[in-house]
Symmetry: C2
Subunit: 186 residues, 2 copies
């Protein structure tokens, strides 16, 4: 649906929207990136695997630390406040398809492992280390922008830079029977 | 992924799970169906279009009335309590793909129209009739079981009859990179 330059632009818009939402929910956002990026927040560059890099950041930051994926284009301050305010040693916001789109860590022994159905593995680990677990039920945090169908969610529910960019780029909802899709107009 | 007999069985399991969850959330469920079904709750048979039939039911029942789709296989008493307890003349739980998976109607002029991106149209209508609107952010209520990817959600998060049936029928999560899928083992 997008060429590689457009993907880069959309990813940056999504990241900026997420940083804003984290800030407005009372968080102090920092970026963890695989390569240098320009941003008005502290950036840590770590080109190791996602899980290794996030676990190193958890070591550095101590508890509580929240880890929020930068492509959660529907994240609002309200949805993130629910995440930050939920009680539990580990608070997990599952992503569609079994990922862990956002989490709060308040237990020193908890470590992430994003491979496969990570929300299931994170549940199991919390149990094994005796950490109390809370799962947050949020469509906004469950929706990472990965696939064409996710762009429809962004058009339906997004109101930040990413959704505006998508509309400016000619994307519109294509309604019919069943779930809506997106189509692009020149 | 399923033949037509299996689809019928899965649909019945989903419906029974939803009826249970509604009951445990404090609701008094009734079924609206296009043809006679056996159930231990009152059944209204109406073979007109979904919107026409639901609007007739809203006329009959008055306010407040909740309308919950029978294929919300991840619905829990907790998720439905959030829906029932939310304030607003209209409370809307958007479905993935722009549908309206569940709603509460407390305004006599509100009428459903499920065609297309109905959550967008329902938002607009609430505004036009001066009804206060609340949108409920729930992955569980956003997930209707329509497509193969939804079966993965049922295996990941479901613990009712439908999820058990799916496991007994040989379905398992297929993990890899990105979102998990389902595969079937004989």
């Amino acid at each position: 649906m997008l060429d590689s330059d457009e993907r880069r632009v959309l990813a940056a818009r999504l990241r900026d929207d997420v940083l804003d939402a984290v800030r407005r929910a009372g968080g102090r956002p920092e970026l963890l990136a695989t390569a240098p990026v320009e941003a008005d927040v502290p950036v840590t560059v770590d080109d190791r695997s996602l899980s290794t890099a996030v676990n190193a950041a958890l070591d550095d930051h101590g508890e509580p630390t929240a880890v929020v994926m930068a492509d959660l284009g529907l994240a609002t301050p309200r949805a993130l406040s629910r995440l930050f305010d939920a009680s539990g040693d580990v608070v997990l916001a599952p992503g569609r398809g079994g990922g862990t789109n956002a989490l709060v860590v308040r237990h020193p022994a908890f470590r992430v492992d994003y491979h496969g159905a990570s929300c299931r593995d994170h549940r199991r680990q919390a149990h094994e280390i005796g950490a109390t677990l809370r799962e947050l039920d949020s469509h906004r945090l469950a929706t990472d922008i990965d696939e064409p169908g996710d762009l429809a969610e962004l058009l339906l529910h997004g109101d930040g830079r990413a959704a505006r960019w998508l509309r400016d780029a000619g994307f519109r909802l294509a309604t019919g029977d069943g779930r809506v899709a997106v189509e692009r107009h020149p």
